[in-house]
Amino acid sequence: MKIAVRASRTMTRRTMLGTLGVIALAAASGTLTPPRRAGAQPLGLNESLDEAMTRVFGSRSIKDGGSLIKLDIPLIAENGAVVPVSVRVDSPMTPTSYVKHIYVVADKNRIPVVTRVTLTPAAGQAFMGANIRLGETGDVRAIVEQSDGTLWQVKREVKVTVGGCGG
């Protein structure tokens, strides 16, 4: 199987085969944020979407980011184990105003928060791409945290299907 790597050709295969379902992860700048280690979210646990959202974002409100965020992900996963996702945010990347984090959340996954990418103004643009694993059909969200703490999100249904039965 080939591993999709966008925007960075410097990663090794081992770097990409991270934990927690993040198989490949690259930031637009070419710098790599390592996947979060098992210590942060011990494998073997289940977390509901509500628990995960409360743990990460507390009671902060999240605005509709439809005009700001471009979430690119297949509508029907060709392989639920390797679903390419990218998030592009239309935002300045200056020291006073920039995108600090991009989260990818899969509502129906056993551990919904799939990844968090940390960006700095030096990244130049707010973009991330990864391959994620999806356990079943459900919404996938991209949540963007700006440097002033504002949160935006978009979400899209992704089907993970048994397939078959084409016309």
Partner: protein, 561 residues
Amino acid sequence: MDVTRRDLLKLLAIAAASGIDPRRLEADDGPERLLEFEPLGNVTLLHVTDAHATTRPVFYREPDTLIGVGDERGKPPFVTGTEFLRAYHLAADTAAAYAYTSLDFSALAARYGRMGGYAHLATLVKRVRAERPGRTLLLDGGDTIQGSAVALWTRGEDMVRVSNELGVDVLTAHWEFVYGIDRVRELFGDRARTGLFAGDFVAHNVRELGWNDRVFRPYTIRRVGGVSVGVIGQAFPYTPVSHPRRFVPDLTFGIRQDGVQALVNELRDGRKADLIVLLSHNGISVDLKLAARVRGLDVILGGHTHDALPQPIVVGRTLVVNSGSHGKFLSRLDLDVRRGRVADHRYRLIPVLAHYVPEDAEMARLVRELRRPWESKLGERLAVSESLLYRRGNFNGTFDELILDALLKSFDAQVAFSPGFRWGVTILPGQEITLEDVYGHTALTYPNTWVRELAGREIHQIMEDVADNLFHPDPYYRQGGDMVRLGGLTYTIDPAKTLGRRISDIRIGGRPLEPARRYKAAGWASVATEADGPPAWDVVADHLRRLGRVKLDPRPRVRVV
């Protein structure tokens, strides 16, 4: 532009000019008249799609049930039977009613005969080319090389050869891929080389995993009638999930709406195309949504869902054509293209009524030659049917019931699964079922049967999953095909509900399904893992040989809310 009774009555002259015996016409209710076409403008697009390897004429009954969800409900293309006739101002008990609907199918089939066949199709195509020299393009939407024993045994070669003889200019694909990507490259070429196919194979949305490189040419530009025509190929977007992954292991597909828009812009601005056509294997609902979202597409020539639309559906400035299946129809779209715009158009979905269109001698010879090595094997008479046997429709058809019976009996199973394919020929009451007919419902490259225990909740889950592929409110989430066919159980379905809530009251052997209980299930055409049971054609053929006569009483299997 509606087809009225009066239109149909104007046909005499053209039919006579086409070499049909005029004496036969007077006594007739007008099958030949359906061939009439008054030419218009500078470009003629001919479109065929989803032939499913029917080189010779067949019976193919259109669906009696085709449910649309949300805004689609009750409007074309989601109309059947009398509603269909009303929507297109067609009369019952006519050749048109026979071609487009399931009404009185057995009687009308006996009256009007088989449809399609490449020799008859070739006659029509040659006539149009003779009438419109240098102005005609013939486009094929794919699902061309799968669906028959001969196509399976020649791995698609027979169909590529008849397509070459027919003079297909451009082709895109879906089922072609079940012969594996290497075979597709041999038959159709790729970006770097040509294959056996003499025309242009286009598919912008087939990419290599990883670097996203295109495997095939995304489009071709043909100059006809002084007009530069850009044809973008859209292969079936969900090929990797609809068939075993092993056939296209390193490829990724998808609708790629943004990609279509980018190619339209490139053709329009960069390549100065006057007319932009999407040759699509999306399925009608996806075509309609795409037409509403992409700017600058003049025509979508669509297939996959087998909808036979007597008129294009107009979305903004885009004409969406869908041309049925099994060689039953030849779409003719005449366009008057001026200064990069379609000023006028005229369309007819021409029914290829084999009795009324003579064979083209060269094509007939080629078809005979390609079939000769297999003819005696295929002609084996397995049983006689007293019932009308068909597959097409949202839920179990009668031929599906036959396949399911064969699975249940052969494997002593409680539940049987068969895919909701939309291809498969129709057998009339009194007709013999041959081995070729069985292959006409089972000829694929993953035909093996399987038997295993499934928990009640798994059975329910599979049904919900497939129902969502058919009835998702957003067409971009649909894979096409019909509801999985089920034997041994009955159920209720509410298509308007959401995933996980559509199916209720599942009963196995008359008793309510128990989620935790394990049931013995059988099926075939497994997408997930390669099954190891005998191929479905053997199981079904053996079942028919044992039966001798087939008589199916009505089976109220599905209740639709």
